[in-house]
């Protein structure tokens, strides 16, 4: 299995086409109204919404769970069934081609205003078309913006591919009208925290499985669970992942094809919101009026976006030799599946692999690389030096297998202009831009504004972070380990510590270490003599640069640990954790004891807590 996985991770170069170009030349109306002829899987015709919902409600599985819930709660089964029907009604999609057309029309208009171009790899689309006809397909995009799924459906519509059914968060549904439009465009809605609501889980999982089984449309879901506020990949969630794989485990379909989709933006629509959320400013509730107010977003330029459809990953191929499908032989197929530890581990591995593939295929903008240097020079940097360092970094990134969108030499100044809200060039010097607000500011407010700028900038760096994580971790491990021989051990420790921060496929530590070493060897920063790794003197720059990438994270981890060591943190509640840590970090920033403003990222702070919990330094108990 391992070699197969490594093979999949190898980078591939593909050509991209701008789908907006044609839209700028021909009529949007005729595009929206043209004959739509998607080839579905096994010629499956979509069941009507009613029929689909009936299949779900009358499934052996739901009947079993309803009886169980009724017995546990003492409610009459009819009421529980009613409740299940209610949940399903709230959840179900209502895919209608006419709404896709409406959406297609309006999105053509909107996208043309927002973006200069939307680049899509057509080879990926051809593969996808083939895959959809062969087996049920699961589209697994990364999640960086609200508009991710709109873009995907729009592309599918444009290329005559079956419109996917999309797992969306319930807040979207709350937006009157828009929620309904989304529903009719194929979105189904999932509650954010399902917890232990057995009936809800049952309805949701049976609903998802039924769609996969019938295969009339690809299922699309975000394996990361939420929109990443940091633009960095998130640790995958396993609930939906298992649901879409179950029909394969049980043999109800021959295979399930997982298609990683990597979406990247030159400039993310929500960039200011993201930084604010990380600093603890609550995100505005999704409402239709809110959306209308956000109209002014339309007036700005967001550059290009790239959508890369990866190679379909066969669940069957992954499971070969790792999952004993015979384990479900003794239980009726309709009954809940008790996932063995082996199976859960497999599902977890698949989910991580897909996130890695999303990262691998992502097309990065020059701006992402420029932010590395910007963040490493808090006092600003000369334009010449910035371009010089970025070009050096570009070589490094290409060596590490990154996909870059680098059309010409003007691209860096273009990027800077595009991101005028983050950085600006004055008298040949580039500096981060701070938000301007009213009048005299307190020390805290000043820190806040500074941090907001830094975090916004950091999120673009995060988009490219995955390219450097393995070599950077090796560099850090080699330079901090007691002896070169202990490098790998140190690497494993760092990997475990940062398991929530950076995505590693579980059980792949050896390969990750080797990948990191390979990268460093290629740029001459590491040599192997007598099977011992040694950091070379000549390429110190690379080592210093790579370790510096991780510095803000390490500092945050250090600071949070230091704060937690204070007496008042002997015991603390999860709720108060973020605000107390934030206050403490602000104080330390003001006093100058802490230097990186990234320490204020609530996301990293939470990750520290998870890491400490995982490693047993902190324990959790219910009160």
């Amino acid at each position: 299995g391992q070699t197969r996985v490594l093979h999949m991770l190898r980078a591939e170069l593909e050509s991209f086409f701008d789908i907006l170009e044609e839209r700028r030349q021909s009529s949007d109306i005729s595009h929206a109204l043209r004959t739509f002829s998607a080839q579905p899987y096994h010629e499956a015709t979509p069941p009507s919404v009613k029929a689909l919902n009936r299949m779900v409600l009358e499934s052996q599985f739901l009947r079993y769970v309803i009886a169980e819930v009724a017995a546990e709660s003492g409610e009459p089964p009819e009421c529980v069934k009613e409740e299940a029907a209610g949940i399903l009604d709230k959840m179900a999609q209502n895919l209608q081609l006419s709404f896709i057309r409406l959406l297609g029309f309006s999105l053509s208009k909107i996208f043309k205003r927002l973006f200069r171009s939307i680049w899509v790899n057509e080879d990926g689309l051809a593969r996808l078309q083939q895959a959809i006809q062969e087996h049920p397909v699961i589209l697994m995009p990364n999640h960086r913006s609200y508009i991710d799924f709109l873009v995907l459906s729009y592309i599918m519509f444009t290329y005559d591919l079956s419109i996917p059914v999309i797992a969306a968060g319930i807040p979207l549904m709350g937006m009157s009208l828009i929620g309904e439009i989304f529903r009719r465009s194929g979105a189904f809605f999932i509650r954010r925290s399902i917890g232990s609501d057995k009936l809800y889980w049952a309805v949701l999982s049976e609903y998802v499985r039924t769609i996969v089984r019938t295969g009339f449309a690809p299922v699309e879901f975000y394996v990361e669970g939420l929109r990443s506020r940091t633009l960095k990949s998130l640790t995958p969630k396993l609930g939906l992942m298992q649901m879409v794989l179950e029909p394969f485990f049980k043999g109800e379909v021959y295979d399930v094809l997982l298609v990683p989709v990597s979406i990247s933006y030159d400039r993310v629509l929500e960039e200011t919101l993201l930084a604010h959320e990380l600093l603890g400013v609550p995100k505005p509730k999704e409402t239709t009026t809110g959306l209308l107010k956000a109209r002014k977003v339309l007036e700005d330029d967001y550059g290009c976006m790239h959508v890369c459809f990866g190679k379909p990953v066969s669940a069957r191929a992954l499971a070969q030799g790792r999952v004993n499908r015979g384990q479900f032989n003794l239980v009726p197929r309709g009954l809940p599946l008790n996932a063995s530890a082996e199976l859960q581990e497999f599902v977890n591995g698949v989910a991580h692999l897909l996130v890695r593939l999303q990262e691998k295929n992502m097309v990065l903008s020059p701006w992402s690389l420029m932010t590395f240097t910007l963040l490493q020079s808090p006092q600003g940097v000369d334009w010449d030096q910035l371009t010089h360092k970025t070009l050096w970094l570009r070589t490094l990134a290409l060596r590490f297998g990154a996909h870059l969108n680098w059309p010409d030499s003007e691209v860096m100044s273009d990027s800077l202009a595009l991101h005028h809200s983050i950085a600006c060039r004055e008298k040949g010097r580039v500096q981060l831009v701070e938000e301007v607000g009213p009048g005299p500011v307190t020390q805290e407010e000043a820190v806040f504004r500074k941090a907001s700028a830094v975090l916004m900038c950091a999120s673009y760096r995060n988009q490219a972070l995955h390219v450097f994580t393995r070599p950077a971790l090796v560099a850090l491990a080699m330079t901090t380990a007691a002896s070169p021989r202990k490098g790998e051990q140190r690497f494993c420790f760092l990997q475990e510590l940062f398991a929530n921060e950076l995505i590693f496929i579980p059980g792949h530590a050896v390969q990750d270490f080797e990948e990191g070493c390979d990268g460093l060897q290629q740029c001459g920063a590491l040599t192997i003599t007598d099977q011992t790794l040694r950091v070379t003197e000549e390429e110190q720059d690379a080592i210093i640069f790579l370790t510096a990438i991780l510095q803000p994270f390490i500092e945050t981890y250090e600071v949070v640990c230091r704060i937690l060591c204070e007496e008042r943190f002997q015991t603390f509640s999860e709720k108060s954790f973020l605000s107390s840590v934030r206050d403490a970090v602000i104080k330390l920033l003001i006093s100058g004891e802490v230097r990186s403003y990234e320490c204020l990222s609530s996301n990293t702070q939470k990750n520290v807590l998870w890491a400490l919990l995982r490693m047993g330094a902190v324990s959790k108990s219910r009160v």
Partner: protein
């Protein structure tokens, strides 16, 4: 009598060479005109059967000079007929070409057969005991294999591996007792041989066996010893061949109703040893339901029950140690079986369904209502088309007109897609009145699942296919096409998934392994039970361009079996385990289960006299 024997020996195409001792006993016996004489004249079945293919030598498919397919001989309904559409189907399905032939080695190269490794003292004592035997290469090779693809393929190429060193023909139970005693005394390995129709490598001599291997051919133990009309049972020697048993019972107005597809050639002892299943099990039951009493000779002695009570509570049923033991414990010599009066009326039938799903749903409903006819089988679309390719030339314009009309009605008027529709074949048996009533009930159920009655003729042709399909494999092998069938049993809720996944797996595995043309991968549901069904797969492909077709074939079959097991199917419904499926036994019956079987083997046969190494 004497003259007749001489005559038979003379006219026999192949010289029957018996051991000197045997000849002497024939002479002495014939001179004394003893009654037992007839047992020493062997109506060698292998004289009229192919040595490197299926069935009778006179019956085979071939493409004549005009390129039309025909079936030779006079034995079958299809014999002597032209099959006009077979060629197109054959070439279209496999990408085969009549120009590309892969003919078999015409005759057995006797010098390629390894010389026998005889245990002289065993042979001496056997001769002294008057047991017929032979060490002729032809006799030994004939009993060295079953009908697995790799076995027949090797024979066609003239490749001979380890074969038995000696063939013995006991004529009765006591002969077997003697042979087994001597085998124990001299430590030789015995492999019981019945009809030779095994498809599980059960008859293959274990290559690692260093002792002398003796094939114990039961074919001369073929008498019906008595018929008990009060209890409706018959006591029969285990070497009797299915069709002979049925024919002889019919003469007295009875039948067993046990009709496995191999019944022309397979033996009663073989049925018991493999847990056979008959086509009409819905009325008569499978072998385990039919057997009342079994006598088996083991190295420990003879095992049998003391009475013929119809059911007993005397601990685990010892018959179930014997049934399915696949020749690893001893030789079944005599069996008391249930018999039934020959049914008054038989009627075939068929139903067309718009697709396989509907067909399975109908069969499930029929099973649920427990109203399955004697036989009900559902062929998938590929097999339906295959069946069509075997339609003989129609004699009149009227029939072809009718056929056209039927086709028009089903595809155009009823809107069935010819690439999805599938057919169930039916066989009803019993009183005329009840059969007609039963027929109506089944057709009414079928109608609920979109099924249309499609006539008796289609039904009958479906069953005929069963008997000639094995001949077709030989035709395929003449033109670079190899194939095999395999079966499983599976709960109802998994039937569709299993069929789809296994068929798909076969197609994909073939592609991955470099098979140039998509294979034929087809299935049918052949038996219904309360809790599940038996599914039968056919799989064949064109092997041109492959350097080791058998290896590819075996890999694909292995993958298909893995897929069956992963989808909740059993290791085997009735073919047995043999050596072909041994690797999965532990998984199939658990470690403890396998241990139980092993401990029985250890007790019954501690020196592994019955050393065919099947099953365990």
């Amino acid at each position: 009598m004497f003259l007749k024997i001489i005559h038979a020996c003379k006219t026999s195409k192949r010289k029957v060479q018996l051991s000197f001792c045997c000849m002497r006993s024939i002479l002495s016996l014939s001179l004394s005109l003893s009654l037992s004489l007839s047992y020493f004249f062997f109506p060698f079945r292998h004289d009229i059967m192919k040595w490197n293919g299926w069935g009778y030598s006179d019956s085979r498919f071939l493409f004549n000079k005009k390129g039309q397919a025909e079936f030779t001989g006079k034995r079958y309904r299809l014999s002597g007929l032209i099959l006009p559409s077979l060629k197109d189907w054959f070439e279209g399905t496999f990408g085969a070409n009549l120009q590309h032939k892969s003919p078999a080695t015409p005759a057995l190269n006797v010098s390629a057969v390894p010389p026998p490794n005889l245990n002289e003292s065993f042979v001496e004592e056997l001769k002294a005991a008057g047991v017929a035997l032979s060490q002729e290469p032809e006799d030994r090779v004939f009993r060295s294999h079953g009908h697995c693809l790799h076995e027949i393929f090797a024979l066609r190429e003239g490749r001979i591996s380890r074969v038995p060193d000696l063939v013995v023909w006991p004529s009765c139970h006591n002969d077997v007792v003697k042979i087994v005693e001597l085998a124990c005394k001299h430590n030789v390995c015995l492999i019981p041989y019945g009809g030779g129709t095994s498809v599980s490598s059960a008859l293959e001599c274990p290559p690692e066996e260093t002792r002398s291997i003796v094939s114990l051919d039961t074919s001369q133990m073929n008498r019906i010893l008595w018929i008990d009309e009060k209890n409706l049972t018959a006591h029969v020697e285990a070497g009797i061949i299915g069709q002979d048993l049925e024919r002889q019972l019919n003469e007295s107005g009875y039948c067993t109703g046990h009709e496995p597809d191999s019944m022309e050639f397979s033996s009663l002892g073989g049925w018991v040893a493999t847990r056979a299943s008959g086509m009409k099990k819905n009325i008569y039951g499978n072998i385990e339901d039919l057997v009342v009493h079994i006598k088996m000779v083991t190295p420990r002695g003879v095992i049998e029950k003391s009475c013929q009570g119809p059911r007993m509570s005397t601990g685990p049923d010892i018959h179930h140690f014997i049934m399915g033991s696949e020749g690893t414990l001893g030789v079944v010599t005599e069996v008391t079986m249930k018999i039934r009066p020959v049914p008054e009326y038989q009627k075939y039938g068929s139903i067309v369904f718009p697709n396989f799903q509907q067909g399975v749903a109908c069969l499930r409903e029929v099973a649920k209502q427990r109203c399955a006819p004697a036989s009900i089988r559902l062929m998938d679309n590929e097999q339906f088309q295959f069946g069509h390719a075997l339609k003989p030339q129609v004699s009149s314009i009227f029939t072809s007109f009718l056929d056209g009309l039927k086709k028009f009605y089903i595809t155009k008027f009823k809107g069935f897609d010819p690439h999805h529709l599938c057919v169930a074949t039916l066989l009803f048996e019993g009183d005329r009145e009840k059969v007609l009533q039963h027929e109506k009930q089944v057709y009414d159920i079928a109608a609920k699942f979109g099924g249309l009655a499609a006539g008796e003729d289609n039904g009958q042709r479906g069953y005929m296919l069963t008997f000639v399909i094995a001949y077709l494999r030989d035709l395929g092998m003449d033109y670079y096409v190899i194939g095999e069938s395999f079966e499983t049993s599976v709960p109802w809720d998994r039937v569709l998934d299993l069929c789809r996944n296994v068929k798909e797996r076969i197609v994909r595995e073939c592609k991955e392994r470099g098979v140039q043309f998509p294979p034929l991968s087809t299935c049918r549901v052949t038996q219904t039970y309360d809790a599940g069904a038996c599914v039968y797969f056919y799989f064949a492909f064109n092997y041109r361009g492959l350097s080791d077709p058998i290896h590819v074939y075996e890999n694909v079959e292995h993958a298909a079996r893995e897929e069956i097991l992963a989808n909740g199917g059993s290791l085997s419904h009735h073919h047995g385990v043999g050596k072909l499926r041994k690797e999965w036994m532990k998984e199939a019956v658990s470690t403890v289960g396998l241990g139980m079987l092993k401990s029985v083997k250890e007790y019954v046969d501690p020196s592994n006299i019955f050393g065919n190494r099947n099953l365990l």
